[in-house]
């Protein structure tokens, strides 16, 4: 496991009697894009929240770049970053101001140069001084992704990053993230409900159901291995009849 940038062991989250995440273990290696899939309520966002240190697990450990998220929080979180549809940057600050503030929080060197580079890379230069709340949802997504890579994280967590994008913009973003993983030696954990996207981008997928990892494997081979035509069909089976897969 020398290559693993994220190591999750026995991660569990219980809310009173409800078990949201049930002892899951997995890892993400450098240069690898891993899809975290599952129906609504399967435990994906709860898992991501624990990886980001904003939700304390009932049991288990999370290590990012070798550092425990809850024991060595600052060191671990300096090596990661994220973009999620439910965590928008403040709409009353401009694109530049938001990127600058988050760059300071993540201790980015040569920050002004880095922010200018990201504005170019994500085609945000025309909106440099525009308040984020005035941007279209696609433009906001690009800002969130620029924020997510500002510290060149070893681990990038993406919760449905292309959900509000048109197909052309979504493809461009997928290519960017894919290239970020392969060229930057970073690991990416990606949640999405778009199975075509997952097949195109992910090296490996984990299917969550009722807080447990039900299936794991190559998204191109996994459907065939379970007698399905494609990943979408497999997803629907996970959502509707998870027991049929558990019994295989």
């Amino acid at each position: 496991m020398a290559d693993a940038v994220l190591e999750v062991r026995g991660l569990t989250k219980r809310y009173n009697q409800a078990l949201a995440v049930d002892g899951i273990s997995f890892s993400v290696n450098r240069g690898e894009v891993v899809g975290l899939l599952g129906p609504n309520g399967a435990g994906k966002t709860t898992t991501l929240s624990m990886l980001l240190g904003v939700l304390e697990p009932t049991a288990g450990t999370v290590r990012i770049g070798g550092f425990d998220v809850f024991q060595e929080r600052t060191r671990a979180l300096a090596r990661t970053n994220f973009a999620a549809i439910y965590a928008q940057v403040p709409g009353n600050l401009s694109v530049f101001q938001n990127l600058y503030i988050f760059g300071l929080l993540y201790g980015v060197p040569d920050l002004r140069v880095r922010v200018d580079g990201l504005l170019r890379e994500f085609e945000l230069e025309p909106f440099r001084d525009t308040k984020c709340g005035l941007l279209s949802s696609g433009e906001q997504t690009r800002v969130h992704l620029a924020k997510a890579v500002i510290n060149a994280p070893e681990l990038l967590l993406l919760d449905e990053p292309t959900a509000s994008l048109d197909p052309s913009a979504a493809r461009a973003i997928r290519e960017k993230i894919r290239s970020f993983a392969t060229h930057g030696e970073a690991g990416v954990l990606w949640t999405s409900h778009n199975m075509h996207e997952v097949e195109a981008v992910c090296d490996r997928v984990l299917f969550l159901s009722h807080g447990r990892v039900l299936l794991e494997g190559d998204p191109k081979e996994l459907p065939r291995a379970h007698g399905k035509h494609n990943l979408e069909e497999l997803f629907i089976t996970v959502a509707r009849e998870p027991l049929s897969l558990e019994l295989e």
Binding site: G53, P90, L104
Partner: protein, 265 residues
């Protein structure tokens, strides 16, 4: 503690103030109205009192110092509320930022805003009503220090309450300073309060400031020990408020309230 991350929190608030006239004017409008209203009341009292007693330093001085405390409290709260209103908690606390750095960033912000507010009150009170703050001499240092530290304690405490109860608890935060005002002896000596209320005043750091202010004006003497007690109490409350806030934060992380904050569970 990382100075760059603390600066990030401070800079975020400064960006907001710089670009928004409504926010910026909030630092001045209410306190200026207060000074104008109380300035004329004190002038009127001076007239009907046949100049036998100068009400300006007593009432206007008390009002300015009390408003300073309230501004400090609200300076912390407003910075915290900005992150509630923009749903920014996850972005902040999923970064390497620590809770201590976050609070110090808010404190720096409130130093800047409360000094601006204090300066505006002093300039107006001096120009329009002949108030001279420096009549208190070096006593100003402990007066301001006690009120500042206690204002921080109130601000951090109220932020903790809102973090625990959710955005709907915002209404509790605004008037908290005014709930304490009757016990602080701002406009009258503590001796005017009935026994049990006077006992409460002994635990209120501002009461030592306002008693000291009157004592210095009327007799020219003040017991340094009472100011030390006031300062010690203010520091104690700030430590307790910090522990309260960090405890609430850890509870929120454990129970999942931070990620579902707006749901007000």
């Amino acid at each position: 503690m990382n100075a760059t991350r603390i600066y990030a929190i401070f800079l975020r608030q400064m960006f907001l103030l710089r670009r928004n006239g409504t926010r910026f004017s909030n630092i001045f409008v209410w306190i200026i109205l207060d000074v104008v209203m109380w300035g004329f009341i004190t002038k009127y009292l001076n007239v009907i009192g046949n100049a036998g007693f100068n009400f300006v330093p007593v009432f206007l001085g008390a009002l300015i110092l009390w408003n300073f405390l309230v501004r400090v409290q609200q300076g912390i709260m407003l910075g915290f509320f900005e992150d509630i209103w923009s749903r920014n908690f996850i972005n902040l606390f999923a970064s390497p930022l620590t809770i201590g750095e976050y609070i110090i960033g808010l404190i720096l912000t409130c130093i800047a805003t409360s000094i601006l507010g204090l300066a505006a009150m002093l300039i107006l009170a001096s120009a329009a009503f002949g108030f001279v703050l420096f009549q208190f001499g070096m006593l100003l240092v402990p007066f301001i220090a006690i009120l500042f530290v206690f204002g921080l304690a109130l601000g951090v405490f109220t932020a903790g309450i809102v973090l625990r109860l959710g955005p709907a608890a915002e209404w509790i935060a605004w008037p908290l300073g005014f709930f304490l005002q009757p016990f602080a002896g701002v406009f009258y000596p503590i001796a005017m309060l009935p026994g049990p209320l006077a006992a409460i005043a002994m635990f209120m750091p501002p009461s030592y400031v306002f008693e000291g202010m009157r004592s210095s004006l009327f007799s020219g003497a003040i017991a340094a020990s009472s100011l030390w007690i006031g300062f010690g109490l203010a520091v104690l409350y700030l430590i307790l408020a910090y522990l309260f806030f960090t405890g609430i934060y850890r509870h929120a992380v454990r129970k999942g309230r931070l990620v579902r904050f707006s749901a007000e569970e």
